[in-house]
Symmetry: D2
Subunit: 467 residues, 4 copies
């Protein structure tokens, strides 16, 4: 593109750092050209059926379908100032027999816009595959931890207990919704079809006049060959709301990942300390500061998710301002927004996979937090049971209150929570409930409702959806 | 809410100016309270089944279900600093028998969040109904104008012809997609169900212990009574991504309306002049300046649509930051964003309906523009036909080019387009094509492909979808 | 506005719940009308100077300047379908002498747009005053806590120590920038002036022809009377980028508050527990669950800040699409966006003030966290000092590493950090450094650089700025 | 970065297509490394002053300051997993004498963050220079066209006349504001300075202990050498609101350009036809369709401006979530957002320059529109003058009304406006005003107020600002 060495130019982080090579290939110049050629071949095949072109011409085109030559194309583009026409000429030079009938009767957007639709579908499929892997891993993790009790937090304040698996299930439920959304988007992607400059297909009707093939029939043949559904009504392009819907699908996935990654960051903070990102041998972290492990995947996910969240608005604006039969103010920003949204989401999903698979659950910290905070929440159960057995509610409430305040003061000093011990040693309470029953009542592990069952049910649902 | 007269306070334009009274009622304080009471009754009914409350208690609640008393509730709220608990007390005062069991075992969000889901569903249904009316009118208009040829514009430049109906069909296709989206959203809205403070349903399990009814069974009974599906996994609230999906649905409708309204504004501009907003007897416009008709509905639609487009991002942020088992940073902005998004969209749809039904198509302007610009586009057909009959392509192209330049110069001076006449009088052309055939070839009305058929097909699709 | 009782309609939360009555008054219908009348009086005064109207007429207008009568105006509006003309008529009915010359030669936007500028300036001034109070309180708090050592966190991981005051100073520095920005915005607000329908002032020039007063002179007289600078170039309105700049100013303040409030929420989380929102006698929180204190102000701030952050984009769109000499697609959304942005920010600032003034710093928690985490960070200093006195770096590093791992294991179990004790008891270390020196080296309080001085310097800067 | 050929990967359009090579160089990897090295040299110089490093060491660093070797650095990065440390090692290998003291006592963000500030300042300066050129050209154009009368449009409806220069002045006034904003931003950019991991400068204080140089003095020396002001208070980075302010500055410029480009697109639409983008010999456009000129620069500007408008929100989010002493969720998106915002804006400014300099004003179209619409607006003046000379207002108004309706009907048929002729031929009017006076009264050229004077005044202001 120019002679300056790459390191003296701007190279987008989506050009190498973020996103997979597979995804990057889909958004490459070469892939785009190959899609164009695929469309030209399909067009010629349909025109052969109409008798407009010969079998030999089509065969010639087919033979050179993948022989893109970007050097030649760029040289021609400098002359022609039009990238698609430069590709037509490059291709034509390679096809002595069929070169002359490439792009016959077509407008640029009949080729480019259908190619875009194909590319978007491939990119969605790639993401969906990756997402399936993450979901499968998540189903395993949540099921395995379905009964693993831990403290739940509302307002970032300890509340009642939940389970590690149920917490993962919240993310899994959203992620499954994202998976269905992306699959549906891929299944429903439609191309513009072959409808010419303003969507009426007038030029094709003219061209096909007397051939026995109509314009809609020609379009149908081509789109079936591409296995690509078509918008029945378009102007010069497919309705740009399709871009917006797709970017919304990506932003939804980014949303799920963002919340999960933020939770990881909170839970990885040493004062809580319940979850840890996986870390390799390289990332041992300082042994002198053994807590020092930055949640690098989670921070990266949140950073990129925030970027993805900003992009649907650009697509909304494009669609909203595609005035009358089309204005071209979508073109420049689509070159950046569409690939970068997919590459950022691709990176997010890959890191999410690493997080889910490698997440370390720190049992000691979970037990510490349950011991510290779970017992407060459980005193209500204790009170109910003691009252049921004849205790005076007012008296017992005051007993609990006093010990709770003392326990809180101890916690503030960094000591373990003495509340269970204090309560089990108070005869105003033990006269109604034996110490063993007190311990049972205060056991948060009993206080998790049917969360484990629902967690397992969702795991099964996910497996069924992926099957 | 306070004693200052309304006109000395801020009254939101969505409080009176924009949106219908029907929609406003759904977002009123009173309606919200009625929904809460409906939930408390359903909860009591299920608890009666478990034997926790008596039939008489439930009957008492049911008898006063709609007797909201906001004065009393506000007085109590001042004391209690909690609007939901104030309503519990108000309701309880009205129910001597059942008052004591209102809200039994529930957390606030079990009531509020399900009420929100019901309200959102009602609001979506109201919008969907309105949208059906607009779609039906649009189907009629587009069908009636399916063959009505006019100039199409790309890049705001005259291109080839299209038809008025086909142009309307572009909007109709998007609007039908919006209709399906909103219906699907309404059908799929799910409540939180009854799952307590952190989503485990632990408190209900405790409460129902020994009754023979489980927590999930109790939830199922209530939600069936409300005919409201439920999220299987929640934390303290339903996943806030649901708000985001709904606001996206509204933003999609706003998008369709925005583009259409912008097109109206462009086409209503006198130099084009093809479309006019309906205007009543009051709005005669200056008779001295007969062209002076501001597109007030279209401008209003675009203004509100732009507001709606900004709101999904707030919901994305809420969902993204609903950390761990829920933080409350969604609450304050949801009070504004949800109702205002619906009221703005409601106004948009109503005005869109007025536009579609009353749109005036200015035949004289359409003919003028076709006559001015259509003939240029049609010269290509003329050339092809003359060449087919034996003319020399190079010579004829030069003939057309010269006359085109002369015609353009005339147009620039504000004169009618002389091109057709110039061509029909040039014997370098008439030697190949008789003047009558020239006129036919230049007739844009022949150059609209199968746009009319597809327009009619979409009209039929819409009618089927609405049936 | 209509007869339905308020509680059966939608009442925006900014109509009563959020924002102050003072701010609400500025955005009231009545205030708007008073501003209009003030502009009409100023216009008449300037026209009196030109000899177009009489002193008696002006005096009559001045006498009734504040006698707005919204009932009458609304009745007239129903007829006239134009709120400004209805006010003209209402005012005129009250002024038997001067009524006829109200609005002489003016277009609506000459009145409305200048009134908007005045209103925006008042709203900015009100906010700025509130902000000054918050800043003064913050300066006191940060200065008082300038030397109060606590753990700093990066990546939500404990890092090195900082001080409470320095942490507050980060917010204070941003808030001072917000203060300067809002003051500058208020000082620079410009009105449209009196330039007629397309900004040329042609109608005024016509009107003033032969009076000896020119249109720019008339404008200057009026704007000086209002003490309002003027855009030299306008079309029908002042450039709408001004709205965008103002909303950006509010979004900047919302940004500062958002980060601070989020920090409060994190620090108020009991596992960290260093900061607490103020809470009144009502909000004692459960004594059985003494840690249960929801950060309600901070969550509210973050919720509203997120709403404010979405609004500048609407203003950008308005300005971007104010096509040619003005389109009206700004009007509808400005009625909501401008007042709601100010009312939300007003609420944010008030709550921020409450947070800053009432913030409780929990000494026990700070000491606990320093004791738990500070010592790890300080081992590096210990190592350096021991090596300086002759110790072998490799050996000592291994000593520290072993004890650190043991200490971390203890922390994970919820025990106090034993690291300092372990190190002070290891003779491989005490042979180089006496135990007392080890304690000193591990004292985080010594490791805070010049943060206290810079904190105090900023406090002084703030006081100087507010003086 | 990897071995796949570039055309099989994603290459951002900002990597070659949009933005200048100058701007791209500022955002290159190589430039970034050079800035890092500049910071290390400045750090070493200050440390030499403190006696921590020797003159020979500093001289060695200085000698190799620009010898970046990205191949070596990438090889090392693979081992070290840290780009900045890889550069330290690469540099150190080149400096046998000084290599060991590179980065002495520093944290990564002391280097990276100050380098970012320097880069942002360079990028702002480059933009500002380009903008100065555009402004100068705009001042010339608007002054030259200050008296060039044309129709003004409100609501896209013809209104009163304005002048071409005054219309340009609206853009120029905004662009001058953008210019001042960008210059101010460049002047006020501040670095983090040298404050270590959490902003306290504790590590530097430790390092400098006993040298006679304090940490703030060291920072001051370095920052003076860089001529870069410094934030007095930071945590690990400079406050990220700075990024937001800068992106807002770019979005403001994008806003100005967007509105202007949209106006160009409207005015270039052939039914209006007053303005045309410059077009080269290549872009002759079809001579058969002489009106067919797509506004490619203007569409491109609007497309990129819309992208730029979406980006400040990402920076707001980064700043809002830079929690406690810093989280790293800004990092990934900043790599894309900052350079792409600048490169997009750079492209916008360059195209804006081409538009301004090459804009073709189509005199014929302007006269046609004035003749078509201007006369309607002018009838009010005619009426006033005839009444002044004794005519009956009611009668004359009816005369004008009738002729106006007839004239409008003629326009609708594509005929020139006959109104002036009809009025001049009606003796009900000529009895009061001779036909010549009628022609004068109807001459829109007289009806432009003091717009020309204000246009010229702004041109002078711009020139003074640029001087």
């Amino acid at each position: 593109m120019n002679a300056t060495p790459l390191h003296e130019q701007f190279v987008s982080p989506f050009g190498w750092r973020y996103g997979s090579d597979d995804m990057r290939r889909l958004w490459s110049l070469a892939h785009r050209r190959r899609l164009w050629r695929r469309l030209w071949v399909a067009l010629a095949e349909a025109q052969q059926h109409a008798g407009l072109v010969t079998a030999a011409q089509v065969a010639d085109l087919r033979a050179h379908q993948d022989d893109i030559d970007l050097d030649r194309a760029h040289a021609l583009e400098k002359e022609l100032q039009h990238d698609l026409m430069a590709e037509v000429h490059t291709y034509a030079e390679q096809c002595p027999v069929g070169g002359g009938i490439i792009h016959l009767g077509a407008t640029s957007m009949d080729i480019e816009d259908n190619a875009d639709a194909l590319c978007l579908r491939e990119a969605l499929s790639l993401l969906t595959q990756r997402l399936a892997t993450v979901l499968a891993a998540l189903a395993d993790r949540m099921e395995a931890a379905a009964d693993h009790v831990c403290m739940a937090f509302t307002h970032l304040q300890p509340a009642e207990p939940t389970t590690v698996g149920y917490r993962l299930a919240f993310t899994a439920q959203d992620l499954l919704a994202d998976y269905h959304t992306l699959r549906q988007l891929a299944a429903e992607i439609r191309g513009k079809g072959f409808k010419g400059a303003v969507g009426t297909a007038a030029a094709y009707e003219e061209l096909l006049h007397g051939t026995g093939l109509t314009a809609p029939e020609m379009e149908q043949r081509i789109m079936q060959a591409l296995n690509l559904p078509v918008y029945d009504i378009t102007h010069q392009t497919y309705p740009r709301r399709q871009d917006w819907l797709i970017l919304n699908g990506l932003a939804g996935l980014a949303l799920t990942a963002y919340k999960f990654a933020f939770d990881v960051r909170l839970l990885q903070s040493p004062p809580v300390g319940e979850w840890q990102e996986p870390f390799g041998s390289r990332q041992i972290g300082s042994s002198a500061m053994p807590f020092k492990r930055n949640p690098i995947h989670a921070e990266n996910i949140d950073s990129l998710a925030r970027f993805v969240a900003a992009l649907p608005r650009v697509a909304w604006d494009n669609a909203a301002h595609s005035l009358l039969e089309r204005t071209l103010d979508d073109s420049a920003n689509r070159r950046a927004v569409l690939p970068e949204a997919f590459l950022a989401t691709d990176e997010i999903v890959q890191r999410l996979g690493r997080l889910v698979q490698g997440l370390r659950v720190e049992e000691a910290a979970i037990q510490r937090n349950l011991a510290t905070y779970g017992v407060f929440a459980a005193t209500e159960r204790l009170l109910m049971q003691a009252v049921r057995r004849g205790g005076d509610r007012q008296v017992l409430h005051e007993v609990i209150r006093q010990h709770s305040l003392a326990a809180w003061a101890a916690l503030q000093q960094g000591q373990p929570n003495p509340l269970a011990a204090l309560l089990a040693a108070d005869d105003r309470l033990t006269r109604w409930l034996p110490a063993a029953d007190i311990a049972t009542a205060l056991n948060a592990a009993q206080h998790i409702g049917d969360a484990p069952e629902r967690t397992r049910r969702l795991a099964a649902t996910i497996r069924a959806a992926l099957a």
